[in-house]
Every structure is written in C-alpha cells, then in structure tokens.
Symmetry: C2
C-alpha cells in the first residue's frame, strides 16, 4: 500500500501545509520567460526565533523562503496557535493578522506587495500561479476550521500524523516511515492543545501499537489502515 492510499479521510489531506513547495515556485521563476521577475527582491537573513512580521504592521511584503523554516502563528495573551510552517520555496505575505517568525535560521527573498503586484502585471501568467497559491492557503485554513469545529484533539493529532506520512512517508517492512523534526510542543501548537495533552495522546497511540517512534524525529505508522480507521 502506498502512503497515498491512506489519505482518504476528508480532513486528512490538510493539516498545515500552506507551503507552496509543490509549485516549486523558485524552479518556475528560473525559467527564461520569467527573467527579471526576482530582480527587485532583496535577500535577508533571520536567526532562529527572530520575528519576521507582526500583525498590523504597516509594511506589506511578499516573501519566498530560500532556506530554513518559518512559522506562521496567531497569538492571544500567552497562547499561540501555529497556522503552518513554510519551507524552502514557499511563498507568503506579511500583511495578515498572523505573526511570522524564523523557526530555524532562515534566509528569505522579500519584496513589497505593491512591487510584487506590478511584477505580476508584467508577467500575467504568474497571476494563475498566485491564484492557485492563495486558493491553497484558503483551502488549508478551511481544513483548520473544519478540524477545530468538528473534530477533537485526538482526531486532529491523527490527521496530522497521516498528513505527515502522506507528505514524506516511505513504505518499509515495519509500515510507513516518515521524518518529522517538530517537537511535541510544536505539534501541540499546530493542533490547538497543550503540550501535555499532545504528548499523552501520542504516547497512547504508541502504546496501542499504531505508531512507533525512533529517535527524536523518525516515526513509523505500524498500522496505517487501522490508524486511518480511527478517524473515519
């Protein structure tokens, strides 16, 4: 069974990939027909933990992640909720109600939204790509709302695990192995719960034999069909 096969729960194709790597935007922009598009972008480095943008900030910029990983999150008083992580090749804008921070040392290409818009006018085919990207971001936020409204935390954790496997899983003799270097605290902020709850739910899945964990960042779904069945 391929990892794709387990992705049949409606919320499962979702969690938290607003990233646009699948569009390979950097690759696309290297095509001769887009020559000049990236000229006005400036490159800037951010150290792990550094804030890239705040909600309500006046400057409205579009950025592409060159290296590293950035976290997009909502915050209220002491609480945080992670909307998504952006990886190499992902594109996003600073002008939202979300915070953006460097989750690892990161290097970005930035340009003002105004200049970006002018550029797209010069390369109108890119407007299709932009519409696709915004559509996917929107789709991800609808997935999040769906999860929050209709499903409990355990369901959201299982969705997260299945989505990770779906994205980078490899079939092995033991099951579907995938790599995920997010900490339990990171995961808890993605599914909207406390670190303690996320940890205890994950340990239950491990104890019940659905998932195995090797080291800090490697997991195997030992019973993929049964795990998917838990959220059907």
């Amino acid at each position: 069974m391929s990892p794709q096969k387990i992705a049949n729960s409606p919320t499962q194709t979702c969690m938290r990939k607003m990233g646009m790597s699948q569009h390979g935007i950097l690759e696309q922009l290297k095509q001769p027909k887009y020559e000049g598009f990236l000229d006005d972008f400036r490159q800037q480095s951010f150290a792990k933990g550094q804030l890239i943008s705040l909600p309500g900030s006046a400057n409205n910029e579009v950025f592409i992640v060159l290296t590293g990983r950035t976290r997009v999150y909502l915050a209220y008083e002491e609480r945080e909720f992670t909307l998504c992580y952006l990886e190499e090749g992902d594109i996003f804008a600073t002008h939202t109600r979300a915070f953006v921070e460097a989750a690892k040392d990161s290097s970005l290409l930035l340009v003002s939204a105004r200049e970006f818009g002018q550029k797209v006018l010069q390369f109108p085919e890119l407007s299709f790509l932009m519409t696709d990207i915004l559509g996917e971001v929107l789709s991800s936020t609808l997935d999040i709302i769906d999860g929050l409204i209709f499903h409990d935390v355990r369901h959201r954790l299982i969705d997260f695990i299945l989505a990770q496997a779906n994205e980078n899983g490899q079939q092995t003799d033991q099951g579907i192995q995938f790599h995920c270097d997010l900490s339990i605290e990171d995961i808890s902020m993605l599914i909207g719960t406390s670190r303690q709850t996320a940890s205890s739910l994950l340990n239950n899945l491990i104890r019940d034999g659905y998932v195995a964990r090797e080291g800090r960042s490697r997991y195997t779904i030992t019973q993929p069909e049964q795990l998917a069945a838990l959220v059907e």
Copy 2:
C-alpha cells in the same frame, strides 16, 4: 461616537464577511475598460434552500451574486458551521471544501474557473482585484480560527453583534441600531454553537441591558462601549 469607534477589539472587524460588496465588483466591471468581461458568464436562479455546490464536485466555477443571499458552510455528519453569507455583488468559487446553498431565492452569474482565468489574463488589472478579494477571504478565515481557538462562544457572539453594528449600524438616541435578518439558528451556526446556547447568551445580553431587540430583525446596542469592553 460613530459605530466605527467601537471596532477596536482585534477579532471584531471580522466575523463572517467574506463578501466582497465593498469592492463593488459589479460596479467596477461596468466600467468601459472591462467591456466584455462578463460576456461568458451565464445567469442562473436558485430557490431558497437549493444547493449551489458541493465539496469535491468536479466543476470549478466562479460566481457573482446578482440578487439574494448564499450561505457558505462546512458540514460533518449532522452538524453545520456557516463560514459566511454572500450578498449582492459578492464573488466566490465553488471549488472549495465548503457547501454553498441559496439562503434566499438567489440569482447568480457563473463562469468556469478556467474561463475566468483566461478573462483575467485579458484584463490583467483585474488580477489586483482578485488578489485583494482572496486576501480578504483568507483574512476572514484567519479571524474565524482566531475566534475558535482563543475565544469562547459568548465572546464570539459579542464579536458578531459588534461586527454587524460596524457594518450597517446607525447612531440613534438609544444607541447603535442595526438590522440583521439572520435567525438565532443562523447566528448559532456562524459562531459554532447550538441554537439553545446562542439564544440563551443573547437573552443574557438583552437582560443585562447591553442590547435591545425590536421585532425580528432590528437590534440596538444600548451600551456600545460597555459591550465592547466585555471582549477586550
């Protein structure tokens, strides 16, 4: 105090206006420079309660509401959650995980997303408008997530009331009067709770003197500052 003045809670500018009437898209499209843009749209009527689109349907269309009101909602088993209502001049797409139904008898202009994209290529300035619209839709969904994660139902109800007043409120001697023809059940599905809970919370706000209700669809916020302070 103008109705705008009370809109200082972060989530308050939000609830459930993904509609794009403020862009007056139909007005804009009547400009000579956009002549021909609407030519390939077909007009179609939907009776109150009729489904306009289902998640996962193959046809991917863009539509503009000419008359009436459509409801965009998520559903799971017996439960529904309303994302937004679209009114005259609002634009949306059918190709999302949401259901769209006619909340009143409605008339829409529809076109396939592919043709719509081709049209935008012919009128590249429209890509700015489209980006704005998608950005606003995205922003509304982030508001919803923010409300669901960080605020309880009472907070979301107050946000809803303040947003309604902000959108169509009139200052009167009694306070800020606004019109809202949504039923308590409609409102409960917008804020993600049961009809009973929404009704009891609204009655508490009325009993405590923050809000008065006249007839089925007219409300007055009698103590706007105090009401806004409840969610600060």
